[in-house]
């Protein structure tokens, strides 16, 4: 579902991807780089205090927050960076919503020596200024997209528009397991490093497979990444979407766990989209910018259809509570996105047996979210700090 002009570019990418996938040396090189540049394998941390607190299943946390740049996004971008080298291209573009994928891509581009342009909705540019700052410092050009709702989906559209113009020397580093083929498969493949590690780690630590695995679902790349290596196992897979202000309010981003979405075609691929009867995309809402997206990975949509992955949603309020508990109990600061997975795990763990274990994928770290989290906690000292800083700037 892409414009005709991209057909050959996509074919070339698909070929490069298939060649890489069937070349064991490629994966080995990828693993080596992720071990030397980021800190893979990321640990699987036993959450002793949360386990005691809930008195049910043993809770393990997969620590993607420890990755370089602070989230699982690093896996995908470094993988695609290797492919870009194979294809001999010199420029990368990417969309970004919360900014994490943009920072990750800018980082990869700096490391790999590519020129880099990041498309970001103008609203997100305003809200996520720290990430914009770092992208620029890393050498990327950040383009604020003033079209549509001026958020993630509009950034994707604009990145596609760049790509159809510059595909000869440019690769589009799509940030999640969405978009035209082969992006969903490719991103999920790179992210599957999460689940491969977790599968080996949980068996080493507990002697068996987990009962359930929880991951938040925006585009779906961290969920695909941890789920897929367990797909043939007797492990229940639970995806948690953004319930926003409650699915009943319509202000949410629950595509699979709530009845609001329908199959459609947009942004180059077919999946469940939050759309109206005419097929126009709806506004979405989540406290977590990275989950605030109308579409969802077609791989997850398919696993939903098969009943292989169960989908739930967590509201903004529940997310802030789960984050607060996790910080105090374990000294971990999951991203607001990741905190969605914690919400559902916390609901279910108490009703499980101490003989069972569960894994929560902590896809990213939350300290990047200070402006949002401080607002969510309505921290008055933070407000004073910002006000004082603004005053200092005004007087400078």
């Amino acid at each position: 579902y892409v414009p005709e002009i991209l057909t050959s570019t996509i074919e070339q990418l698909d070929e490069a991807f298939c060649a890489a996938r069937s070349d064991p040396a490629f994966w080995a090189e990828y693993v080596r780089i992720m071990g030397e540049y980021s800190c893979r394998p990321t640990p699987l941390t036993y959450a002793e205090n949360l386990t005691r607190h809930f008195g049910g299943a043993r809770i393990y946390i997969k620590r993607e927050d420890l990755n370089h740049t602070g989230a699982h996004k690093a896996n995908n971008v470094m993988g695609q960076g290797l492919l870009v080298r194979r294809m001999g291209k010199k420029r990368v573009i990417a969309e970004t919503g919360a900014g994490q994928h943009g920072v990750a891509t800018a980082t990869m581009a700096a490391r790999c020596g590519f020129s880099c342009t990041i498309y970001m909705g103008a609203l997100d540019v305003m809200r996520q200024r720290p990430n914009v700052f770092w992208m620029e410092r890393l050498g990327a050009r950040v383009v604020a997209v003033n079209e549509g709702s001026r958020i993630l989906k509009d950034a994707i559209n604009e990145a596609l528009r760049d790509w159809v113009t510059n595909m000869d020397d440019t690769h589009y580093v799509l940030g999640t397991a969405c978009g035209p083929h082969p992006f969903p498969e490719m991103v999920a493949w790179f992210q599957s490093i999460i689940g491969r590690e977790a599968r080996e780690q949980i068996q080493r630590l507990t002697g068996s497979l987990p009962k359930r695995i929880y991951a938040c679902v925006g585009g779906g790349s961290n969920a695909c990444g941890i789920f897929l290596p367990f797909i043939d196992d007797d492990v229940e897979l639970v995806g948690v979407e953004a319930g926003g202000r409650g699915v009943a309010t319509g202000q949410h981003a629950s595509r699979l766990s709530a009845p609001g979405a329908a199959v459609g075609v947009a942004q180059g691929y077919k999946t469940f989209f939050l759309q109206d009867g005419d097929g126009q995309m709806r506004e979405t809402h989540s406290v977590a910018a990275g989950l605030d997206y109308v579409g969802v990975s077609p791989i997850l949509a398919d696993l939903h259809r098969q009943g292989r992955v169960r989908f739930e949603s967590a509201t903004d309020t529940e997310v802030v509570q789960a984050l607060e508990l996790t910080m105090r109990a374990e000294g971990l600061i999951p991203a607001l996105e990741s905190s969605h997975a914690f919400v559902q795990a916390f609901k279910e763990a108490p009703r499980m047996s101490p003989d069972e274990s569960i894994i929560i994928n902590q896809s990213g770290r939350g300290d990047k979210d200070i402006f949002t989290v401080a607002d969510a906690f309505q921290d008055p000292a933070w407000r004073d700090f910002i006000t004082d800083t603004a005053r200092r700037y005004a007087n400078a």
């Binding site: 528009r161 113009t165 126009q280 995309m281």
Partner: protein, 253 residues
């Protein structure tokens, strides 16, 4: 039959003109006035874009027109009614142009049925390559409509041949990489590209993306059959009002 109409028309004119409007931009009444002006100025065919919230193949001008039309409340139903009325009032072929989700949500078969019934000739769906379009092509064929497919300068010979094999009515050749509404250099390279297109199909060739004035149209004369004026008329309406469209079109050839 659209192809037949185009060939007849081509006997009289060295090159045909197809224009493009975004329905409901700035409102449906103005849209109809623009159609009337264009037809009066001698346009040979028109594409009526049903706005979509995510028009990935369109550049800023058409993109904004899509957004403003949607913001003003235009619906697919209203666009279909507009098409029916235009086809009834004016003696040129009309095509709907939109993104696949609009057809998909409406029901592809139902969409084809409605537009056939409304007297339109076919559709252009820029994000639907033929390999994804089996259901679409079947519905178009069933109703005797023209699925307009797209050649691009990045396509291989094999690809052009494949796309040609699915095409009916004419083929839309995008003049260059990129999205609608940006500058295109009509040069020797374009010459070679259009020659490749010509070899790939016997259908008439329309050329769009960046065609904006008489010089561009003159360049295409003899190299293609239809010049497509898209963003430029929207710019004109934005800047000088719907009244300016007639003279502009009349001056293109």
């Amino acid at each position: 039959m659209l192809e037949h109409y185009l060939r007849e028309r081509l006997r009289e004119k060295g090159i045909l003109l197809m224009t493009h409007i975004v329905l409901g931009y700035p409102d449906f009444e103005t849209s109809m006035n623009i159609v009337a002006s264009m037809v009066a100025a001698g346009v040979d065919m028109m594409e009526l874009q049903i706005p979509f919230s995510e028009p990935i193949a369109d550049g800023p001008v058409i993109l904004h027109a899509n957004q403003r039309s949607l913001a003003a409340g235009s619906s697919v139903r209203r666009c279909l009614d507009f098409g029916r009325e235009a086809a009834a009032r004016f003696p040129i072929p009309f095509l709907f142009m939109s993104y696949y989700n609009i057809l998909y949500r409406f029901g592809v078969e139902r969409f084809a049925s409605v537009i056939k019934d409304s007297g339109l000739q076919g559709t252009i769906v820029p994000d639907l390559p033929p390999e994804e379009g089996a259901e679409y092509m079947q519905a178009m064929q069933k109703h005797g409509l023209n699925p307009i497919f797209i050649f691009s300068p990045a396509s291989s010979e094999a690809r052009l041949a494949y796309v040609a094999s699915c095409a009916r009515g004419f083929v839309y050749c995008v003049a260059r990489k990129g999205v609608t509404g940006r500058e295109t250099r009509f040069s020797d390279q374009m010459d070679a590209y259009l020659a490749r297109c010509r070899r790939a199909t016997n259908l008439p060739l329309a050329v769009g993306f960046g065609v904006k004035d008489r010089r561009d149209v003159d360049f295409l004369r003899g190299r293609a059959d239809i010049a497509v004026i898209g963003s430029q008329t929207i710019r004109l309406v934005d800047e000088h009002g719907p009244g300016a469209v007639g003279d502009f079109i009349a001056g293109l050839r």
